[in-house]
Symmetry: C2
């Protein structure tokens, strides 16, 4: 059997120890991880099977995590995790899309096996893959257990990346750079929006000559011309017009580690006001990056940006950055810290953020962004695309 | 403001009438649709915003559905739905990723406004985008309401496609064909797996010269060589080897309507046994398709396939087909009828299925599939790729 483990077993064990310490601190006996990113983080599991019920169970009294998934995906668990065979469990095909049988009953049996019948069980209430039905089925199957919300318990631990994780994230950054360059090279008046999106995907997945990429957590955001007022609009098959302002946000993804990058591309000569706004945006971004160092808070980094803009009379409220790491659809950002006014999270080496302040001028926006890792004395950029407005 | 409605308003109204009739039959006053595909079906809404709380509310006593989503996505609702402005509601940015504020409180206010305080409210318990937290928040905000599971209520209505929907699904089929042909043309010994996946994506999104495509609900499944024992494994950046058996399942997606297609590609000369199995697979598929007509059940179609294989001493249990239509990540199949032994669903014109019986020989599988629409007297294929083993 092929083994495709992306990290040393010792690294997985260290991650597990950190999670168990936090469980003890919160008085949680058993933690149920429904988020594919958390399953990947703690066991290595990676397959496109997260659309069916799947869980990683961490029990304080059981050494390794236990993966429980669909029978046909068991082999993926053997291939991609470090878990002993006895800690890889599966429910039969009869429990898939069944109106009468629930995969969560099988999971409840495993939970009982590791002493969970009357345990204090942590669950991810806000997770994308913990449905109302999953919760109802588990509560019914474990009537004596106490359920407590442990959403983001693992997320806060994931916030700090290890050196091995940063190696992969640098590769993800290279993929993001390649995809952006691909668009800069190919975009011109008359090119269809769908063909721009297609080029992004091709490059994201082809990656580089040295290593390939994964599919992104989230489609590229392609805000063009008057449709850019709708920030999550889907692309059309219409052509790009003369003088169009293109705001493109994309990501590189390597072994599911995700690094974002956005640039504004103008076809033709931008207006003086737009050029000036882009200079302010880049200045704010640079000042903000220079303010990053361990010990500072997210709020202080936000303030650096805010003050740089205020000097030009430009106001920007709201969040200007979020952490990234392991990502699965439908969203690539982590949901823990935010670079915004009231976030007191203290920066530490190994944290990775996508700094993405968007500025708007009437109906045209500027998004020039930078993904970075916090280092011992500042920050390291994870993408190398020059921080500037692209005029073509 | 640009309007991008993909169907006549009359079609949306007919869909709504069918849903309201079923609500009355089940005694449901208000239906909460969290599934992006159901939101799209009833209102036209289409934007990449489904990763945040978003709901379409259908109230028996309120003529139109009401869309409730994030403020920055309101403009997408105006662009892509037929709804009157008063039926497009939004919650402020303060309710996004907030530890204290819930978007579901805002939704509860809208529900009360349309008489929902003590109503019988249908919810989608098994939906991908109805989390345990969403349910808990709504139950807390509406303590006098009665919640009942209405999962798949809209799904069963969506099972029968209109002529206008079939026009789009034929386009999706053309995209699937183009993506498969692209791989057949480019694959050879030494090509990296990630480059095959990249070519699939490029073609899926570029579409055809006449129309573009959308991103797929689910990544292409690329089962190559010995890794094909793991059906949902992700691709690698390793090269395709000589004599490799490649099972590729992909989809075409147009305005989110999804049509699947899978083929087995062999590089070099396949074994006699493998060739023979592929002939049996195609024969079974053809016999199965010939058995399709309105009035027959899914079970009867399954039996036709089962008997054709049994004549060659080949056994195939389990599901061999599922319906498709509007799809969003993480899964493109509809969760209603199945072509399997015990499914008594009666076929009707307009139903669309992906018939995908996989056959296995030791460690190498054959997946030759066909998406089709049920017609007045049989079925219409939605992809044109010849039903055969591809030898290259």
């Amino acid at each position: 059997m092929i083994k495709e483990l992306q990290f040393q077993v010792a690294e997985f064990r260290a991650r597990l120890s950190a999670v168990k310490r936090e469980m003890v601190r919160r008085g949680i006996d058993i933690l149920l991880l429904s988020e594919p990113s958390n399953q990947n983080y703690l066991t290595g599991y990676n397959a496109d099977s997260y659309y069916t019920p799947q869980m990683v169970i961490v029990a304080i009294d059981h050494e390794e995590p236990i993966w429980v998934g669909r029978l046909m995906d068991r082999v993926s668990a053997v291939m991609t995790t470090y878990l002993a065979d006895e800690n890889i469990r599966a429910y039969p095909e009869s429990h898939v899309h069944s109106p009468t049988l629930s995969a969560y009953d099988i999971m409840a049996d495993v939970i009982k096996e590791v002493g969970g019948e009357k345990a204090r069980i942590g669950i991810e209430m806000g997770g994308y893959y913990y449905s109302a039905r999953a919760h109802a089925d588990l509560v019914r199957a474990l009537p004596l257990a106490e359920f407590v919300d442990a959403d983001l318990l693992v997320g806060w631990i994931r916030l700090i990346k290890s050196p091995a994780e940063l190696v992969i994230m640098r590769q993800a950054g290279q993929i993001a750079d390649a995809a952006m360059q691909r668009v800069i090279d190919m975009v011109e008046v008359g090119v269809r929006e769908c063909d721009i999106a297609a080029a992004v995907y091709q490059q994201q997945i082809s990656g580089t000559a040295g290593f390939g990429g994964d599919y992104p957590c989230y489609p590229p955001v392609l805000c063009i011309g008057e449709r850019s007022v709708a920030p999550h609009a889907v692309w059309t098959d219409g052509p790009v017009e003369n003088s169009a302002v293109i705001n493109l946000e994309l990501s590189g993804c390597r072994h599911r580690y995700t690094v974002f990058l956005a640039r504004t591309i103008v076809l033709g000569a931008p207006s003086t006001a737009f050029l000036e706004l882009s200079r302010i945006a880049v200045e704010g971004l640079n000042v903000c990056l220079e303010s990053v160092r361990p010990g500072r808070t997210c709020s202080e980094v936000f303030s650096a940006f805010h003050e740089a803009l205020a000097r030009h009379g430009v106001e920007k409220a709201g969040r200007i950055g979020y952490p990234t790491g392991i990502g699965f659809p439908p969203s690539g950002g982590e949901r823990t810290a935010s670079i915004r006014k009231d976030d007191r999270t203290v920066l530490q080496p190994g944290m990775v953020f996508h700094l993405m302040p968007g500025l708007w001028l009437d109906d045209a926006g500027i998004t020039i962004t930078q993904s970075f890792a916090v280092t011992e004395d500042g920050c390291e950029p994870l993408t190398m695309a020059p921080r500037k407005l692209i005029v073509k």
